[in-house]
Symmetry: C4
Subunit: 204 residues, 4 copies
């Protein structure tokens, strides 16, 4: 919303603040996940306490899944910004919008651990699909505007684009599956383990 | 409150800790915004759950607006500190007071999402107006005390001052509008999209 | 609790991780302060909402005071670690114990804003007094073990020690005053504004 | 789950983002510990307030213990990554899984401060034992794949492995002891002070 005429100016200094700020948001979003595991109320009886913690297992599973998901996005961000050499104001904004989706993941995760039915599955998979799409947009923007390291070739650009969009496609697909069955949609996330072979096949 | 005779001494080393600490505060304030979206209570019925999440839309809108607002302040901080080469103790203090306003934004946002009437709108717009005024003060202080990079000329100083104060003026105006109508005040924030043309017109 | 024989080995590389980690703890502790301002419950009536926020003023005052206090400690940490060139394992531990007190300040602040009587004032001033004492210990340890920059002379060591211990002495005094009157103890914190003249007088 | 063929490629640039992100997670996890100390409800009577805070002592003890424990892990991470020169994608993942355990410690700590019986002691000691085991795995992986600084010799590798695994062994032992007595298990943690002599004896 501010600063005149700098929109199209590309700079290389100060890129480390972008990654430092992003790492901060990633670190907080990933650590806030633990707050979603509800602490059972204090109780006089040890047995009741054990029982209450054990019934938190969907929260704990959601914690593990989302930690790995955000971790995966962090690795992606890390690897993409190894290839980005310059930035302009629009790239800063794209990165902030991307971080807005990252910071939303703890909320989607809390829904997933707490609610029955398809709705939380749709919100969760939808958030992750959009996160990937925004990130792919950032990556294509950086490429189209000459913000990349000169050693990066078209093949690498395509490879990274695919590595971002294939998981997004899987999550988008699972949103559709969730309209039929929430459980089936969650199982469909296991296709993520096939992301690499799919990518290799598409790169041929 | 401490350290003798260093108040007027200007240094360049250690400026990266100032930006690192500031990035930390920005990252936490922006990520804490998600905690303002209240998680609906667990419920047996999926339909009720969906309904409850959907009625959270003012919280979600407030999340998006505040994320972009804090993001915008971060970009401003980033761009201003590209031009600042030295610091003294007073600049450190001005920066801390500025961060005190940044860290207050999640609270104002929570009010905005939760309460009816003009009061939360006044608190929110007032916080943002003051945040900008403090930041403009920091920028003018740095300029008046020779803490800037030598390549920065008077035009750039004026340009950056305007880019900080125009949004502040819009928020101050909306505080006055809110005395008449909260809704109208919120619509008046759309003038932020005119910040750039206004600035160009003032720079002539 | 671990690592053999490295206790007495001094190193200079990796000091930036110590300051980065410390900046993180400072940034989180200072930003968590906002969570202490309780958000009034949603209400149908705007007037009741305004009233409830206004009655939060002790929380808001506590926020401002603690933000400036933690900010002051951060500036102190920043300035001390400009002078520290090397570190050993004991310095890492002293820094962690120091950060344990910093991270405790949001809790003391919450007590201060919420409770009547002398007890919260004693806890708060006691925390701040101890924080300073630990930090003075860290500083003297670094000096006594040759971990400082060679350009730092005995006068500067004494000056910095005083600048840390004078506020600690004021807070210790206020703990005693609080046994008589909580209000008087809080007013006694205004002596902090005399920290600089007192230090100059002691340095003669 | 993404990126083709980079799994086995080792790089040195960008290692500072790994440590910066890790420091962020450590800083947040260690500072979140304070949120586990429950703030007693507001009360009209000062005496009741004092009483309520004092009865929080198990929470405060848990805070101190966990702060030192996470601090110890941070020092370990710091010292290990002084020796690591390169990274590959698998090391990034091992580090994220390690951080998942670190971020879990505030939850285990909350259980420990709030619940009676052996169960929280088992969860707490189990978390810490596993954290150490994952970290030892990361260290051995880095060593086995030539990611270490060339000056690190086999003795140092063994020394660091022991310094990670001895505390893990003590925590694993205390899980077994907790099946008999929770109190005894907690006392058994005092063996941590013998970690150094045990290590020296094993290194002979």
């Amino acid at each position: 919303m501010s600063e005149v005429e700098e929109d199209t100016q590309k700079e290389s200094e100060g890129l480390s603040r972008l990654t430092g700020f992003s790492d901060g948001v990633f670190a907080i979003a990933i650590t806030l996940l633990i707050l979603n595991i509800e602490l059972p109320e204090r109780t006089g009886s040890a047995a009741v306490g054990v029982y209450r913690v054990i019934t938190e297992w969907p929260d704990i599973l959601a914690y593990v899944i989302s930690f790995l998901v955000i971790g995966n996005y962090w690795i992606g961000h890390h690897s993409v910004f190894e290839d980005i050499e310059y930035y302009d104001r629009r790239l800063l904004w794209l990165n902030i919008i991307y971080l807005m989706f990252i910071a939303f993941i703890p909320f989607s995760t809390a829904l997933l651990g707490d609610f029955p039915g398809s709705f939380p599955v749709i919100v969760y998979a939808g958030t992750l699909a959009l996160t990937g799409i925004v990130f792919a947009g950032l990556w294509r923007y950086a490429w189209a505007n000459g913000l990349l390291d000169e050693t990066v070739d078209t093949d690498q650009v395509r490879e990274i684009t695919l590595s971002i969009l294939i998981p997004s496609a899987i999550f988008t697909g699972s949103v559709l599956v969730a309209l039929i069955s929430a459980r089936l949609a969650m199982y469909s996330w296991l296709f993520l383990f096939l992301a690499d072979p799919i990518q290799k096949w598409l790169m041929k």
